[in-house]
Symmetry: C2
Subunit: 259 residues, 2 copies
């Protein structure tokens, strides 16, 4: 398994393979035969950025059996999704910011993210793996008090698209094995989510195939696979950590409110 990362040094932005806390720098395009530069970066010389810069995040609703059962929702016949704005993206250790003027609840949702490796349209399920570059952790942050504020129109896009509400990282793991892997989410260290990724209603290959029939997917695009039991709200100043074995720990703090 390879772990791809984007990074920033004092002078430039680059990408490469994360190995033993070092970056083996690469050049070219991450999704198209990148070449090693021969340089390696020591741990204290860079900080990680979001591992990709998607043109869009396709975010799933109601994609886990356990959460559907708890909410009394039937399993959908087709993936239910919205687009979360690409401008919401931040990387590991970047602060989540409360929207100006919004005093309501801000929810965390720990999710698996599929990172698309090449343009995908009308892809059959049997070929979907060819279009998946790898997997990352997602915290699909949501201004949950806005969701159903207007009775006629649930504001999925608005509540999830604020700047800093799309936390991605720390890396993109290729050849990730979903079976037997749990996602856990911690709030200031306290366990809040711990669910098996194998409980998905539409697993990754099915998602890529079906969504590619609805919306063309571009290299770097992320499908956030939806969340399961244990979601809740983040108090100002609290740190959220989304952890998936084989991918790592994505850590972001909701910035303390400015008084």
């Amino acid at each position: 398994m390879t772990q791809w990362a984007r990074f920033r040094t004092e002078t430039y932005v680059g990408f490469g393979i994360l190995e033993n806390d070092q970056i083996l720098e690469h050049e070219g395009a991450m999704f198209e035969a990148p070449r090693p530069t021969g340089r390696s970066l020591a741990p204290d010389t860079f900080r990680l950025l979001s591992p990709c810069t998607p043109s869009k995040i396709v975010a799933l609703w109601n994609n886990f059996h356990a959460l559907a059962a708890k909410l009394g929702k039937r399993a959908p016949q087709h993936p239910l999704f919205l687009i979360k704005s690409a401008t919401s993206v931040i990387g590991p250790h970047e602060p989540i910011e409360r929207p100006a003027g919004y005093v309501g609840k801000i929810a965390f949702e720990g999710e698996l993210g599929i990172v698309i490796g090449k343009q995908a349209k009308n892809v059959p399920p049997s070929k979907a793996g060819d279009y998946i570059f790898g997997y990352t952790c997602v915290n699909d942050v949501t201004a949950s008090d806005l969701l159903f504020e207007h009775g006629d129109f649930p504001q999925w896009t608005r509540s999830k698209s604020f700047d800093t509400f799309g936390c991605l990282g720390p890396v993109i793991a290729t050849d990730f094995e979903l079976a037997g892997t749990n996602l856990t989410t911690r709030l200031d260290g306290a366990l809040r989510q711990n669910y098996p990724l194998s409980d998905m209603i539409f697993p990754p290959h099915e998602l890529v195939s079906r969504i590619s029939h609805d919306v063309s997917l571009l290299p770097g695009d992320v499908i956030a696979c939806g969340t399961s039991l244990g979601v809740g709200s983040i108090k100002d100043g609290v740190t959220v950590e989304v952890i998936i074995d084989g991918i790592g720990s994505l850590l972001n703090t909701l910035a303390p409110a400015i008084r």
Copy 2:
């Protein structure tokens, strides 16, 4: 008033000012002090493309008083929107394509589109004009049978994000005067929509300001201002024309079904 257009010749893609059916070619970036190249292109040497390539289309729901009244909906307190995928964009005279396997209704929605000229975040209404580059025509095509197919989750994004469902053009008009201007939509020449743009619940400056507090807007992004009375479905092979005086006529045909 200036009309900006993107075009393709036999050998390259460019942009410039459309004047008397000719293009006065420019170089640089359309939204940042573009410079005339000195070349002008005769009408039969190019075809128009979508006048911009947005990173996202923010599409309004319930933004006209007349349509809200007809549907018995109350006017919202804040713009209600979804993101329509940028991969849906086509330009004038490009065919709208029926999604593979979808046999349901395909609706047209003639709309005014605001084209953003510079990055916009938390913009006050009084400054919103500085962030508007100009205006274009939009046909916000929708696979309407999918919208409420699943009772728990209206599929706004899915039904509006298919490739070719975001028709933009023919040009971006700067200094466009909304007051006193109607939008008309014709199906194979027959008038189907004819509504005053001044009937908007949230007019353009208000939209740019409010939406910029929710989602950062980037140069080239389009806000589709929502539609009003007269929407309906397009039969295969039928041509839709969205016309706004001062911007022009945006014409697209729903490709005949392949049997």
